[in-house]
């Protein structure tokens, strides 16, 4: 109706900057998908209850369905399309393929973005609900149980959970070795 229901925003997505005029109601998820044609990010529930729309916002994993596009104005967004720079798969992506960490593939972009964010959280020493020794002096070991808890915001109805956990753990070990 009036102009103040729309906003001009700037989004930096996967290292490219986009200027957009958006309906304030538009979510970051819909802006990525419909305005920027970055359809790798999926809409599984649109209410923050499944994790399929997970992206990295200024490096943190968030659900893009509950993030308004206008709120992300000026932010740096990484989507599944931005993970494989220059066409080269990241180890986590490669591990998902090799270990069959998906079936229908619909939750996969969210699982992978979530895993990338989660590994960074873990590297920063963040505890989880299953961290037994939660004293701040220690970084919890990334066990299967830790990965499962930290990834629980990403539902997978095909039941690829065990191979997703394996792919994440294998990647984290490899990255730790390569450091």
């Amino acid at each position: 109706m009036t102009d103040d229901t729309r906003s001009d925003i700037s989004l930096r997505v996967n290292d490219a900057t986009y200027q957009l005029a958006v309906d304030n109601r538009r979510t970051l998820l819909d802006a990525l998908r419909d305005d920027l044609s970055l359809t790798g990010t999926k809409k599984g529930c649109d209410h923050g209850q499944c994790g399929a729309c997970t992206v990295l916002l200024d490096g943190d994993r968030v659900v893009s369905c509950l993030t308004l596009a206008v709120v992300a104005d000026g932010a740096d967004v990484t989507t599944i399309e931005g993970l494989a720079g220059g066409g080269e798969l990241r180890p986590i992506q490669e591990a998902f393929i090799r270990l069959d960490g998906f079936q229908c593939g619909f939750c996969t972009p969210g699982q992978i973005c979530s895993a990338v964010g989660m590994l960074a959280e873990h590297a920063a020493g963040w505890p989880s609900a299953v961290t037994r020794d939660d004293s701040p002096e220690r970084t919890p070991e990334l066990s299967e149980e830790e990965v499962r808890e930290r990834m629980s915001g990403n539902l997978c109805r095909c039941g690829a959970y065990p191979s997703i956990v394996r792919a994440i753990l294998e990647t984290s070990v490899r990255e730790a070795v390569s450091k």
Partner: protein, 349 residues
């Protein structure tokens, strides 16, 4: 979702005056609950005033050794904060037991306190609900209320408060600080959530158009020995069926201080003062813990289909206190003194 205006503010004053000036304006922080409810048609603000650029994201130590949690500090930041983890482990645990990593990265302290019930009838505008549409009735009372309140409800509303974080904050006597155009104010969390009464739509004691700026958690030695335990219908990523935040300070077999609050059982975090009183100052024994748990749930009035929550709440109080008692026993049996004797006495008046 109806169309709305959006503005980002960097000054508290601007945020307050904008919300005061515009009818139907609301503060927006993490948006995990508000945006969700806007999509469902439960909330339809005419304007969103984004407060995440206000300088309210800090977590700092207060002069008395307590904590000041900025209103826009994310749940993740609070849960990972070393001071929180050391001095109020139950607070860190409660936050980590809630939602998902993604949502915790978005959700904020202030928003968490103000989140609305997850009662399915509240979230569905086509259903009667006194909380959403005063006077329309309560669908849950005779409907599907398997996970509704067992304490403090009225026939007007049987919904529960969904927050995990607010449960230990209640146990730790946290205080909510806010700003209004007329100046600052504060209200203890124990008085923050209003009793249900006949107006379940009136949820908090926060003045109209006030902005929560911080939550102050007073220093309490007992909080260092605290624990949060949450039971729900799956292992993670689900709201509480019943949760317990407990802190127990035992010296020479006697309870010096105890804090106990329940989540998932009432329209607000339920401070278990009856159980606390029953335990405080006496020896810590299995019988006394058991009796305290029984005492606290004796007032429970389950609905047709949620009687199991009474048993669950009772057992959970007992389990968490027992675990705390056992671990404090082990601690005092080990490194004697634990460097804590004499400090920070709390009156229980």
């Amino acid at each position: 979702m109806r169309e709305f205006a959006y503005q980002r503010t960097t000054q508290i004053r601007d945020a307050l005056s904008s919300v005061a000036r515009h009818d139907g304006a609301r503060f927006l922080a993490g948006g995990t609950n508000l945006v969700d409810l806007m999509k469902a048609g439960v909330e339809s603000p005419a304007r969103l005033v984004d407060i995440r650029s206000l300088a309210l994201g800090g977590i700092s130590e207060s002069p008395d050794g307590g904590l000041v949690l900025g209103a826009t500090a994310t749940n993740s930041a609070v849960a990972a904060d070393p001071l929180v983890r050391r001095r109020y482990p139950a607070l860190s645990q409660a936050i980590l037991a809630g939602a998902s990593g993604q949502l915790r990265n978005m959700a904020t302290v202030g928003g968490n306190l103000l989140q609305r019930t997850r009662c399915a009838y509240f979230a569905d505008p086509s259903e009667p609900c006194n909380k959403r549409a005063p006077g329309s009735g309560c669908s849950a009372l005779g409907g599907a209320h398997h996970n509704h309140a067992i304490l403090g409800w009225t026939e007007h509303c049987v919904a529960t408060h969904p927050s995990d974080m607010a449960v230990p904050l209640t146990a730790f006597d946290a205080v909510v600080r806010y700003e209004t155009l007329d100046g600052p104010g504060e209200v203890p969390l124990s008085e923050f959530y209003l009793p249900v009464g006949d107006r379940p739509d009136r949820e908090t004691a926060l003045p109209d158009r006030a902005l929560i700026t911080a939550v102050v958690v007073p220093a309490a030695e007992v909080a260092g020995k605290s624990r949060y335990r949450k039971v729900r219908e799956r292992a993670s990523y689900a709201f509480a069926t019943v949760s317990v935040a407990a802190a127990l300070d035992v010296q020479d077999g006697v309870v010096r201080d105890v804090r106990l609050a329940l989540g998932g059982v009432a329209s607000r975090p339920w401070r278990a003062r009856l159980a606390e009183s029953a335990l405080r100052g006496g020896p810590v024994t299995a019988e006394r813990i058991s009796a305290a748990a029984d005492l606290e749930v004796a007032a429970a009035e389950p609905l047709r289909d949620n009687g199991y929550k009474v048993t669950l709440a009772r057992n959970l109080i007992e389990a968490v206190l027992t675990d705390l008692a056992a671990s404090s026993g082990a601690a005092s049996g080990g490194a004697a003194g634990n460097g804590a004797a004499g400090a920070g006495e709390e009156s229980d008046g």
